[in-house]
Symmetry: C2
């Protein structure tokens, strides 16, 4: 069975070459993708890409945002692209041609998905990868594994369009409690969890960043629904209140001493 | 059954942008293609493409040739790419994903094939298309059908590599009489046929070019083997001899008058 179309957003993280932003937009237009978001482009790069002669409507409608969570937005499924180098990614690396089958059981029809591409030099950072439910790779020759950014976007868009997993209809507006939570909700939950762990003394300054990257992956892998997030939110509120109380108790004691 | 790999040559006909030549070479390297030939590039374009910083070994090894027959060379199978616009192509247009199945019955393993890309502005001319056994199209959105040249090369190379129809072994050196004739042989035969038709008064100055384009397609569609070409060559030699005799008879008569 062919999986039903998803509403895709393409996210370019810190692209350095305006021509690549333009090329990505053109490939998106070629294959029926419409939604482009660019994370933290250098202002002159962004300016040049948007003002290029013959720029696609997609690039004129594209947003630039400061951080990756804003770029992912309401997507409930996040897919990162990687050249699959030596880094230990802690995730199965799916060939792009296998992504449609992988999506089939995991993404309800017409839900929102984001496809992330890193910068030309460095690819996606480990932190960016920690936002991804799946990592995909274009199977390239070991002699020349790294693709040009615009061409990688073209091949991915081609493959997703070919497999029929690109919806031409707008994403569903209604949110069901039984469906996967979007990144916006999860990230809010995650920040509250981190706040609790910081206050509880679980995180250590030296390893905090690496710990958070691992924890975000663990949270993503739970596959929480909107209902789960609501329940966990209630639990967290109680703990926050308790920790908050203790802190104010301690503060009060200190004040008194 | 998966078709066995062919030895592919990528041919860019009159590309106008050196960045696209470089991008095509990079995509070829990404997917295990090695043989690039460029037809009639403008000298500064070719110079710039070859001297680009970080140019792939493929572009440094690429040849520039004056005409398409030289570029196709020893290939026995020629595939043209087209955006599939309004022109009447007189040929079935195969989606690129369907090309491997199409190749299966038509191309012996390890034989030579050429994949042609036209210039950025105009695509392949009707004359160039007349050299093609098959025309392929990347299925793009009707709203934005025309792809960037470098990205089109990337998608085609990706698709052929994905289907396993790219040989990593050198093409077979031995030529079998029962196998398809290569373009070099066919073009030689074609020129002799045209010579006979010109002398016989079959071609008319006004329609000659269009007639030759149709005739070349007819000749290609016969699927001649090397043995067929040998036999037809013998028949032509006899006709040429006869026509040549007649001409010299006429000349002699004129000289005498």
């Amino acid at each position: 069975m062919r999986p039903t179309g998803l509403s895709w957003r393409v996210v370019l993280v810190r692209p350095r070459n305006p021509l690549n932003i333009g090329a990505a937009a053109r490939a998106m237009a070629n294959f029926g993708f419409q939604d482009l978001v660019v994370v933290a482009p250098h202002p002159p790069v962004w300016q040049e890409a948007r003002s290029a002669v013959g720029a696609e409507h997609i690039i004129r409608a594209a947003q630039a945002v400061a951080g990756l969570p804003d770029a992912i937005g309401a997507a409930t499924l996040v897919v990162g692209t990687t050249a699959g180098s030596r880094r230990n990614l802690d995730r199965e690396l799916i060939p792009i041609a296998g992504l449609p089958a992988w999506l089939q059981d995991r993404a309800p029809a017409r839900s929102r998905a984001a496809l992330l591409f890193g910068s030309e030099k460095t690819g996606l950072s480990n932190e960016a990868l920690s936002y991804c439910h799946a990592l995909v790779r274009i199977p390239t020759s070991p002699d020349c594994p790294s693709m040009n950014l615009g061409q990688a976007v073209a091949v991915c868009c081609y493959e997703l369009a070919r497999a029929g997993v690109v919806s031409t209809r707008p994403p569903r507006a209604r949110v069901f409690l039984s469906e996967p939570a979007n990144l916006h909700s999860l990230e809010h939950l995650f920040e509250r969890i981190v706040g609790v762990l910081d206050r509880a003394g679980y995180t250590q300054p030296k390893t905090r960043q690496a710990t958070l990257i691992k924890l975000r992956r663990v949270l993503l892998d739970l596959g929480l629904t909107n209902n789960d997030v609501r329940i966990l939110g209630g639990i967290l509120a109680q703990i926050e209140w308790k920790l908050g109380t203790r802190e104010s108790e301690v503060r009060t004691l200190n004040d008194e001493s």
